[in-house]
Structure formats: structure tokens, C-alpha cells
Symmetry: D3
């Protein structure tokens, strides 16, 4: 199995609901360093998993919808705890939609899966892994 | 599949027995930067894999039993090569025991697995992955 | 010249005023990975720059006043752009006050200077360096 | 499952053929920071996955064949796009050959698999994972 | 003293002349992860050292002239060993020219200095520091 | 001012004397990831600060005297707290001696200074900076 990963980042504000979150129930924020990994069983005719330039552009586009935002105010997250885990899934699912729509190139339709990892600090991170 | 990882570290002394270890047969030591990863198929009602604060505290407790110790003198490791690989398993198994005992919260009983990675330098690390 | 550095982090929300900040004028947030460096010309009788345990605790205390906060709502920052640069100075100055108050130990009064670096992502950081 | 990883690096020149590569069709180069991971279900009698010293030496030998080279001029890569993905497979396959030949020690014949990751910058990397 | 640093990277081919370079006399290449640091005694009215967005764009422009190139073929480097140290100075000097030309904003004329660091691997890097 | 840095590491055991060290008074150990930085005002005729291959070899030689050792048993450290700070100075001074002896090449006599940084974990490090 092959994989290619590209890294980017976002800076967002949000708050959590639930005692488990302690002081993170207050409005605060995070930089998420985001790693998007594309997996594939065999390389294409160009010997690549995916057009890495296109992959970086699409990741930037998906992150652009969240970047410099207060997630508490986005309708799509109304009543939702925007945990690191949940955001990893959101970003992975949006990338998957773009793959299915052909936005990462026709060849990308042969991708087997996507993993998205969000680093919230030097000492904690979360991932979501899915098939395509 | 979702995962959450927390990072901490320990500083220990030990020695190895066996020619394969070369100069590491002498009493020496290591800083292990320890990454504990908790995996889970679905998020809980709070949209998280595990209470990350609790995960960090339990990891610190498990590491506290080893930190600033000469592992050669711990009865539990008598006659055992405390390799990076073996310590990764020890820490993963102790975290698994805590999960089963409910120490990471009732919700953590739905965890699917644990991976522990010990970085022994900027250029070498070892992991142990297990189910729960 | 000797130095010792300890690392910790905070997660905050804030917004900026001024066209130069572009989309960062919206309420957003950041994880700052914070490195506090203590400098000293000669080591003390214990062969150290500063009690590193105490240094870590005091850094955590200074960061605790900011962590999980919306900086826009803190009276001390009213009307102030809480840029990465400015926060580096704030944290350095607060650590300097603690050094002068003896909170890092009597020996720490011999410290020559402090540098605080805030990493706002994997690709950008800011520092403030001062004497004591 | 256990794993052990060792890190090294190479510095090479090459060019790509195909519009998907854009400006990388020109002769350019890369530093690849290379992580070789060896996986194994159970530890050996010494409590290790593989002799890490031997693993590092064999990785260095495999990389030595590529280091400080213009890959466009190596007969083995004639007409081949030496993408990061493809080089990860090449290095993994050559390590696998060495394992099968006994060059990583007799015990290494019990290895279950190898993964090789090539970091081409701080923001992009590729992996190839195979069984043994 | 304040500073702000932005990170980017280039991928180039080149060769060296001189026995001291050993196998690096052959045509090979490198990824340079480039950190550009801007220093300033006092913050401007916006509480910043420099417009970080503009700094990143100008760094990208300077790097764009070198990226995906064989440096041996660039007239400006004819007969010159394009060592990591020398490239750090070249990039710093070109950024300094842009500062002096007002391309980093009028406020940037108050910058005190620039340091450029090029990481050529996980285990080696070089810097050039200059005043403005 | 130019600088070049090379990275290596050692794994040692030791203990400290003095209440300030708390549990680190017990025999324990550390991995030190060691960065040796060589500074110089102007580049030599080859456009370099120092022969980086030679610098790496000399650093390895200096570290080899400490690696896989219990520092408490080395006569040179009898009655001395082998703190991270103190070890940074020891390594810097030994490198300086080698520079003065011509072991880093005749050209290295023009070096202006050396800084040695020892990373003892992902969250703490110490440096010693000296002139030559």
C-alpha cells in the first residue's frame, strides 16, 4: 500500500459543551496542523498516488472554509462539539467528496482511503481514517 | 476509525544482556518520549474518543512508576531486557488495564485498541499496538 | 553563556483590529507552543541555570492566566492587538516579574535574561528577548 | 504487533516526465529523510524486533546506492519517474531482499513487514508498506 | 528585541567543486526548509514586527527564483559553490533588498535585521544573520 | 555572521546530588540529542563555515567518550553534577580543543565560536555558547 501526505494548518475559535471538557467549555481556540494522507494500492501511470499539487490545493480549499472562523457560529456545526476528532472526520469527508467529484483528478478515483490527522499542540493530536 | 494521541516522557537508566546490544550492555540510560494512542470506531455522545485530560493523567501515572528509575533494579523487570519495544508493550498493557478498570471513564470501555510509541532519539523509535 | 528552555502550550481565542490582519480580524484562535529560555553567564553551585522544575511550574502558572480564554475579553488586553509578538513579550515580562520576586528561587536572581518564543503553527513563530 | 523504526537521509537530483509534475519536470533535487519501519508479531529471545544497529547499517547501505546521485542517470531508473512514492517502494523492496538474504540477522527472518516513509519537506511525505 | 519567523521550502539540484565536498561534488540535490526571521527593537502601531502575510509572500517570491532549478545552470551562480551557508546569505540579502525597496510595507523599514536558516536534513542546517 | 549545525545523540546514565533535583537524585538516564553549531564571520574559499563531514565526525568522537556510559563512574565527573547545562559546556569545550588542535581542518581556525545544545526531551533543552 502506498500513501502520500500533505500538511497545512488552520486557526479557529470554538467552545465545547459537557463537563468532560472542563475549562475548554469557555470560548478559546486552536491552531490545527492538518495532515491529509491519501492511500492507494498501486501507483498510476505517472508513478504517483495523487497529483500532490492538486491535493495541497484541495486541502487548502477545504481548510479555507474553517480558517479564521469561530466554529460556534457556523450553521453546519450548530449544537455540535467541534472536537479535534470530529473535525478530522469533517475534513476527511469533505476531501472524500472532492475525490468522488473528480476534483483531485480522474486518476484519484482509484484512491483506496484517506486519513486526516489534526495536531492541536506539540503533545496531542487526533486522526480519522476512512475508505473511499 | 478514530484515534487520539497524548505525549509525555520518562528518563530512565538500564542495561541489556546479549551480544546483540554491543556497548548498550553497559549501564546507560534514555529519554523516552512516549506517545499513547487510543483508537475507537465511533465517537461518544460528547464527540470524543476519550477524555483527553484523563488520558494524559493516566499516562503520567503509568510513566511515573518508571520515571527517574534504574530499570535494572525494579523487581518486575528482573532478568528481562527492557528494550524500547518491550517497554512500549508494558506501557500499553498497563494503560489497557486502566481502561478495563474504568480509570479512563466509563465511556473508554468502548475503545478498540491502544498503540504506544517510544522515541529513544531523533532517529529511532519503537511501537506496540494491541486491541482492547 | 548558558541557557535552559522549557516548553508548554496554551489554546486561546482572539481577534485583531487593522487591515493588515486581513481575515484574522475575525474572531479565531490559536494554539501557542511556548518556549521559555532562561540565560545566565555562569552556573550556580548545583551546576544549573535555574531549577527546571520550578521554571516549568512558573511558566505553567503564567500560561494558566491565558489558557482557554478569549483574549478579547480580558481587561488587561482591552484595545490591544494580542499579536504573537506582543504575547511573547507579555509572557516574558511576567516571568521576569516572578524571577525578581524570588518565585524561581533565590539563585534565579543571577539570571541574565529571558527569551520567550511562541509557535503559532508549524510554519510561523515569534520571539521576544529581554534582559533581567 | 511490534515495530522498530530507524531514520536516515539522502540528497539526490532528478527530473520528472509528465505534465502533472509542472515545474518539477525540470532537473531539480530533494533531501529525503527516510524512516524504515520493521514490523513483527512477537519479540525474539532478546526482546527485540530486529538488531537496530544492523538495521541502521543496512538502511545506510541501501541509501548509499542513491545518495549524492542524479537518479536520471542511473540505469535502473531509465524511463522511470523516480517519485517519492516509487523511491519508498524501491528502498522497502531492497531492504526486504536483505532481510530474505539474512543480512539483518537470522532472527530477522521472522519479520512480518516493512514500511518506508520518505519526507520530502516539512509539509509532504510518502510511504510504501509491504509484507515480508 | 522582537522577531517573527516564517517557514517555506525549495527543492534544487547542484554540485560542488573542491575535494572537501567528497561525493557531493557529483550532481545531486536538496530540499532546503527555509526559515526567514525578521528582527525589530520595537513593535509597530499594529503591535507586529512585520506583516506576516506579506513576509511569507516575499519569501515565496525569493524562493521561487531558485525552486525546481539546477543551480549549476543559473548565471548568477556561475563558478560559485552554492553551499547551504552561501544560499542562506543569498536569500537573506534578497529579502533585505525587498525590505529596502518597501516591498514588505513601509513599516518594515524599521526592521533591525534578518536571519535565514536553511535545513538541509533532519540533522544539519546553516544560518546567515545580517543587519538591515 | 554564518553558522553551520550538525546533530547527533548520546544515551547515558547518571544521578544528581542536591535537593533541587528531587527524584532525579536517583540513578536514572537520558537521551541527549546534541546540536553543535559552528559560527564564523566570513565563509572560506570553498564557501563554507567548516567541513561538515569532519564536523560530524569530530562531534561523534566527542560524544563517543560519553555514549552508553554511567557518567557517575567517569573519573572526570567525580563529585560533579552532570547537568544538561554542564554537559553542553563539556562538549563545546572539547570541540573547541579539537578546533584549536586543527582536527576540524586548518580553515576551522577562523571559526568565531561554538554553541552546543542538548535536548533532554521534547519539552526541555539547554545550551552553552562560547567564543573560540
Amino acid at each position: 500500500m502506498f500513501s502520500v501526505t500533505v500538511r497545512d494548518h488552520i486557526m479557529i475559535a470554538h467552545s465545547f459543551r459537557g463537563e468532560v471538557f472542563g475549562p475548554a467549555q469557555r470560548l478559546h481556540g486552536a491552531t490545527y496542523v492538518v495532515d491529509a494522507t491519501f492511500r492507494r494500492a498501486e501507483l498510476d501511470a505517472d508513478n504517483i498516488v495523487v497529483d500532490i499539487g492538486l491535493a495541497g490545493q484541495r486541502l487548502a480549499a477545504v481548510l479555507g472554509e474553517l480558517n479564521y472562523r469561530n466554529l460556534d457560529e457556523l450553521p453546519e456545526f450548530a449544537g455540535v462539539n467541534t472536537s479535534t476528532e470530529m473535525l478530522a472526520r469533517t475534513i476527511a469527508d469533505r476531501l472524500a467528496d472532492l475525490v468522488h467529484a473528480g476534483s483531485l483528478g480522474e486518476g484519484a478515483r482509484a484512491l483506496a482511503g484517506i486519513t486526516v490527522t489534526l495536531h492541536e499542540s506539540h503533545a496531542a493530536w487526533a486522526s480519522y481514517e476512512r475508505t473511499l
